[in-house]
């Protein structure tokens, strides 16, 4: 059996053993509907609310601000559509061309169906956006500004705090940020952020689990209509046990994030040093990127071929965002950075976790070098 090495932690992560254990225990005991009136239902409801409070505490927001969702795609969709549909007199959205498809396609949908105007902020060579461009893009009728905290392909960090502060001070727009790749890696003051999306499975938690932070002053229409769950803002029987373990998932992710920050930084440096020694390889991730995401290109070998070759040698990596990795188009993120079609067509994304080792990095570099020599 070939040794398999997982270097795709920005796609998803292995579940944390403590999360799994807690989840299993909860599942066996707490199966009734959390909205039921009998004692067991109330107990689950109480536990879930306790979890909501714990999550709010960890993020520095109020318990009422937390809406449980199925993950970031839902949280992103709910944020954009929820805000826009609550006040359709303002039909302008400011966002970036490097957002996750759940944001980009929501904006495209609102444009197509209701004539919303979308301003896509320019992206610099460094893969991030600048405050002055936000300043220029804001209008009286801007309903929402959505800027991701950390880009999923390059790891580039956007100045979300600054932007949020400016948006709140100088416009009526609400500020949303997609925290999916940032949580546990970059910390933010949530003071000026109105809405934020989080996903559990990027944090060693469960698939199909996430939250949307939506502060109570933000007018909001539910994406999924249903009963009174989540204050009527997200219908459907609560996935109570899943929601409960989100609290533990988040706590562990924040703790581990701090603890392994330096370690992942070392692994990342080791990888980048090694990459620079292989002729023809160019690193696409900017200097300010989070340490765990390293994007590079080897122009002579298209992404898909490189992925196949690495897969045959036991390495699991992505090219562009995993959600788009089956499409043939070049990475729209790298294109937006102005890196050109060839480089955008040959990118590889390595994403690290605290479970990876120096040995794995060395094995990866060795395999990569061989592949470039054989097929380059």
């Amino acid at each position: 059996m070939q040794r398999r090495i997982y270097l795709d932690n920005a796609s998803t992560t292995n579940i944390h053993p403590e999360v799994l254990k807690t989840y299993e225990e909860l599942l066996e005991t707490y199966y009734v509907n959390s909205e039921s009136l009998y004692d067991e239902g109330s107990e689950i409801h109480r536990m879930m609310e306790k979890a909501r409070g714990a999550i709010a505490g960890l993020l520095g927001v109020h318990a009422e601000d937390i809406i449980f969702t199925s993950g970031s795609s839902e949280s992103n969709s709910a944020a954009i559509k929820g805000v826009c549909m609550a006040d359709m007199s303002r039909k302008h959205i400011v966002t970036t061309p490097i957002e996750h498809s759940s944001i980009l396609n929501c904006c495209a949908q609102l444009h197509r169906l209701f004539g919303y105007e979308i301003t896509y902020l320019p992206v610099g060579r460094e893969g991030s956006i600048r405050l002055e461009d936000v300043r220029r893009a804001l209008r009286d009728d801007t309903a929402i500004v959505s800027v991701m905290a950390v880009n999923n392909e390059t790891g580039a960090v956007n100045p979300v705090e600054e932007i949020a502060e400016y948006v709140k001070k100088h416009s009526r727009a609400y500020m949303h940020t997609d925290m999916t790749q940032a949580c546990g890696k970059v910390s933010f003051n949530m003071k000026n952020i109105d809405l934020a999306s989080y996903s559990a499975h990027k944090l060693e938690g469960l698939k199909g689990s996430g939250i949307l932070v939506r502060k109570t002053h933000v007018p909001f229409e539910p994406l999924i209509c249903g009963g009174e769950q989540e204050e009527g803002l997200r219908g459907g029987t609560s996935n109570a046990c899943v929601n409960m373990v989100f609290a533990k998932t988040l706590r562990l992710a924040l703790e581990n994030g701090k603890r392994s920050h330096a370690y992942i930084g070392e692994l990342s440096q080791r990888l980048k040093d090694g990459l620079r020694k292989i002729p023809g390889i160019e690193i696409n991730s900017p200097e300010n990127a989070v340490a765990g995401i390293i994007n590079f290109s080897y122009e002579n070998i298209p992404s898909e071929v490189m992925q196949n070759a690495l897969n045959r040698q036991g390495f699991m990596v992505s090219a562009r965002s995993t959600c788009a990795s089956r499409s043939e188009d070049p990475s729209y993120v790298l294109m937006a950075m102005g890196l050109g079609a060839k480089r955008s067509n040959s990118c590889i994304r390595v994403s690290l976790s605290h479970r990876n080792t120096e040995e794995e990095i060395d094995l990866f570099l060795k395999a990569l070098k061989e592949i470039t020599e054989q097929y380059g």
Binding site: P302, E304, V305, M306, Q307, N308, A309, L310, N311, R312, R326, E328, I371, Y375
Partner: protein, 395 residues
């Protein structure tokens, strides 16, 4: 619904086979048993010109679906087996008529047992008059909605109301073995089906170019092989790593002749694998003019590389005909999965449409393809595939 308890299977093309009749029947008998291997309750009996399968409660709809895939069957019918008496025969015919929902019928009787007291015509009249008296059905001798067939034999009478067309052709495996070049596209699985239909046993060879082609592409080919293997039971697939040959061809010949040379090399490899595995011919899914390598000139130039006969069952089929067949055998949806096109590096920009042997040989002199072919053969992998089943442990 009448209580069907037997399937009567009629053979195809048997009259033309003369002395091979016994082989034909034995093979067909085995193939049918293999196709129906999941139904343990069935009982089989071979007769001179029929095969009888006792259902013993098996789901006749499922049996029908499976039998329609067995080559060598011209038609089959679900029959009721009753006592060879007029009372039993009439009662069964009446029940079939009552339950049919048809408006017109016709009785067709064959009296094999000449000791039976009534002649065929009399049996027709008596049963028909009972049906006419007791139901609203009318007789239509020219175009009946419900033909009811009665076969009277000494041991029993068989009554059947529907003749279901079989797949025709010869029992798979009776006419020797062929090595099919299986690409993962739409055509080659259809070619496998056509070859099997003529009684050939099909083995397959697939040329993979990792890392330029993915594991998914390879798995797709094995899935397709598994799908068509149902018509013959199982299928051996040889997988050849073609990457080194391909890279050398591109380095040497460049764009226009690359495809021609690739195909010549593939044919050479296939010829050797065929000879090693007892295959008398190689098969392809080529169809005239479909792509640059399938012009008549290209086919001639490529065929020139080998001496073994090459069977091309789709050679004069239109693409739409091939797609219709692919849909019929259920391979189309899998064939159009996009893994094939994951890499456009080897897609020629300007392939030659009228290659010549001289020019191909000129390029081939420029690199040592013989040892690359040897290396590719030494590196061969084989897999034996079977029709897919749902056996995941989590289901």
């Amino acid at each position: 619904m009448a209580d069907y308890d037997t399937v009567l299977v009629r053979f195809g093309e048997l009259s033309t086979k003369g002395k091979n009749r016994k082989d034909f029947i034995n093979r067909l008998f085995r193939n049918i048993q293999y196709m129906l291997r999941d139904f343990e309750e069935l009982e089989y009996r071979k007769a001179y010109d029929r095969i009888y399968i006792r259902l013993n409660g098996a789901d006749h709809e499922k049996i029908r679906e499976k039998l329609q895939k067995v080559f060598g069957i011209s038609s089959f019918s679900f029959t009721e087996k009753v006592e060879p008496t007029m009372e039993a025969i009439t009662a069964a015919c009446l029940r079939i008529a009552e339950n049919s929902g048809a408006k017109t019928f016709k009785m067709i009787t064959k009296r094999h047992d000449k000791t039976f007291p009534l002649r065929s015509d009399d049996i027709n009249r008596q049963t028909a008059s009972v049906i006419l008296k007791n139901t609203g059905l009318k007789v239509d001798v020219h175009d009946p909605e419900l033909p009811i067939r009665v076969e009277v034999r000494s041991e029993a009478a068989y009554i059947t109301s529907e003749k279901i067309a079989g797949a025709g052709g010869y029992p798979a495996g009776i006419n020797g073995k062929v090595l099919l070049m299986l690409s993962g596209g739409i055509d080659s699985p259809v070619a496998a089906y056509q070859l099997m239909k003529r009684g050939l046993n099909v083995e397959a060879v697939h040329f993979a170019s990792p890392p330029y082609t993915s594991e998914n592409a390879r798995n797709k080919v094995l899935t397709l092989a598994g799908m068509v293997s149902e018509y013959q039971g199982r299928m051996k697939v040889h997988i050849i790593n073609f990457t080194d040959l391909q890279l050398n061809i591109y380095k040497t010949a460049g764009d226009p002749y690359a495809v021609t040379l690739m195909r010549r090399m593939m044919f050479r490899l296939a010829e050797q694998i065929a000879q090693k595995n007892g295959c008398i011919a190689i098969g392809t899914g080529e169809s005239i003019g479909q792509v640059a390598s399938q012009t008549l000139e290209s086919i001639a130039c490529i065929n020139d590389a080998v001496r073994i006969p090459v069977l091309r069952p789709l050679i004069c089929h239109d693409k739409l005909e091939i797609i219709a067949l692919a849909n019929k055998i259920g391979t189309y949806e899998t064939s159009i999965l996009p893994y094939e096109d994951c890499c456009t590096i080897f897609d020629p920009k300007n392939p030659v449409t009228k290659p010549t042997v001289e020019k191909a040989e000129y390029f081939e002199k420029m690199f040592d393809w013989q040892s690359l072919i040897e290396a590719a053969l030494a590196d061969e992998e084989t897999a034996v595939v079977q029709p897919p089943r749902n056996e995941e442990s989590f289901l």
